[in-house]
Chain length 201, copies 4
């Protein structure tokens, strides 16, 4: 059969993206074959080339889309305040929410940078850098205002992001811990870590 009635390009492209993220998150980029993606979508491998020029470019688009989403979404959600404590709390909340909601994308974005061609890697790393800078900015301001006791905002950024992102490796919706509690727990640990004066949890 040629094509399911009502299918169209946009739908197919989205199905490819979704299948790709799933499979790459599960098995890694190198271990994921276009055949497997195509099979999940229900098309022939050649069809993928109507939407993405190569396997590598598919990965790039996935990562760029994801990081773009994070950046855009934070810009929308970030509270209007300038209070570093408030901002840090909001960032932790945002990060964990988006990283549990889009686990697979996050996982891929963290694991598969090395699978990118150099130019693409630079591009993606640049985007990620912009996301890290959000946290660094919050911490820096907090240090300056005396709200945080931290020796180095940049290194603390790495430490806190690693901690938060690590959630994705073990947290599963429906386990003993709800998402709300998870966020509360991590908020408290991050606040302590940052040496925030007002630890209320």
């Amino acid at each position: 059969m040629a094509r399911t009635t009502g299918s169209d390009g946009a739908r197919t492209e989205e199905a490819i993206r979704s299948a790709a993220i799933d499979l790459i998150a599960a098995h890694g980029f190198e271990a994921t074959t276009l055949r497997a993606i195509a099979e999940r979508v229900g098309v022939q491998p050649g069809t993928i080339y109507r939407y993405f020029p190569s396997k590598g470019q598919l990965l790039v688009e996935l990562l760029v889309e994801h990081l773009g989403f994070l950046l855009t979404q934070w810009a929308l959600e970030r509270p209007a305040t300038d209070d570093p404590v408030e901002l840090l709390r909001a960032f932790v909340d945002f990060h964990i929410r988006s990283h549990t909601l889009r686990r697979r994308e996050v996982f891929v974005a963290n694991m598969e940078l090395r699978s990118l061609a150099p130019a693409d890697r630079r591009h993606v790393v640049g985007l990620r850098r912009r996301y890290e800078d959000i946290l660094t900015g919050i911490l820096q301001q907090g240090i300056e205002l005396g709200a945080f006791r931290l020796p180095d905002a940049r290194i603390a950024t790495f430490a806190i992001l690693a901690m938060l992102t690590g959630v994705g490796t073990w947290f599963h919706e429906g386990g003993r811990l709800g998402k709300r509690e998870l966020i509360d727990l991590y908020t408290r640990m991050v606040m302590q870590c940052a040496g925030a004066e007002t630890v209320s949890a």
Copy 2:
């Protein structure tokens, strides 16, 4: 030519291990070919099979060896004290030292679990679990003795290990930060994170 004078098995095996760790850390297990490993060692690909029965088993042996090393070494190095703060300090020191010294092994051990066959994964995950349990034990004891303020020893274990292990992704010997300072910085952040009373830094 049969045998290059002076070559011997033990040396070749070690060279294969080392080349494999290097390349797998750099490009991932799936993206690493036996050809590439062999080329780096200076042998033919088939030679690897004198030492490892398959590519997969090579990975297993690398990971088991590494985790065995961590477990053994901690048993040797851990201070005689029962003081949780002292133990946590020692653990952070140990973890960062071993994880910067053996960066590549650590990286591989964290990334490539999914490349293992199920039975091998269980084995390796079991070993890793034993290592995690060391930290959980320290935190648990500290919580009970009132030395740490943490809501959950297990989750704090994940958080702290993620934070510490993340060091491997950005720290390079010879950068602006010395290893001693690095350890001090992280010790301080971990202590704050754990809510340790005596934060002296």
Copy 3:
């Protein structure tokens, strides 16, 4: 180049089957490489995998197809009579005709059972058994009716089939003996062997 104009799947599959039978009959299954088959067909080795999932499965399909052909064809050709002598004469005729016409298939079916995986071997041996049973049935009936003097129908089956099938190892169309004479010669020998009363030669 993607597709040679005019090529199509069914033709390619048949060409692979034919080349495979030829080469396996000539050199044996283990000694036959997919490369060699592909070369004879005029495609790349990988192309074979569009049609057969593995080299082993290719052999299975060849054998099953051949034995299926024998079984079907005998069902079509066997004379309506119940006379064992008439049936034996027809069987010898049928067997030699099909075994000289499809020499290569027969040869492979007799030689390469050991190259099959156990489950496949059981399947193929089952089919071959059904073919043997045709002859055993004829002999059995002939013994009971007194038309044949044979001590054991089963063993006589082995003996006669070995004798008939052996033709394939030396007979070549165009030699000093025509196919008709060949069949007559063997019919006479088989009849004598079976101790048939009416030996008219």
Copy 4:
């Protein structure tokens, strides 16, 4: 350990021959590896080269030795008589005995001619031809003396040898049939087949 006390070259060579026949009979020449032979003997693969210059030559030696044995042994055992019926009876007896006793050698000799290099094949086929000629001679004489009714001594040779040799594919010591009965059965069938006047069984 270098070598088992008391081991010596002759013993090793014999062990290699024996292991080779076993494995080649079981899996075919192409499917039999020198590694497997060496393992069964308990030596390293390289050791085989002290005794045989190549894998192919090993096969040649096995076949030549076997056919030489048949020729020599028949020369020793053949009855002094000139009576074709007596000689045929003795030949059937001899053939089945030697072909059940040395099943593996026979099997290999029948299956693996195609694995020989052309020159070796000619040599081995020549020896086999001499063995066939023994039977052809007996049949020819019997036809001339009127003891057998056969249209063609050469073709009858093929038919009878195929029939007799086929025994090796299904007969197993210890089955429902003893070797004595087996020989009697086949003697009777061969005599009938040859149209021998005096069928006493």
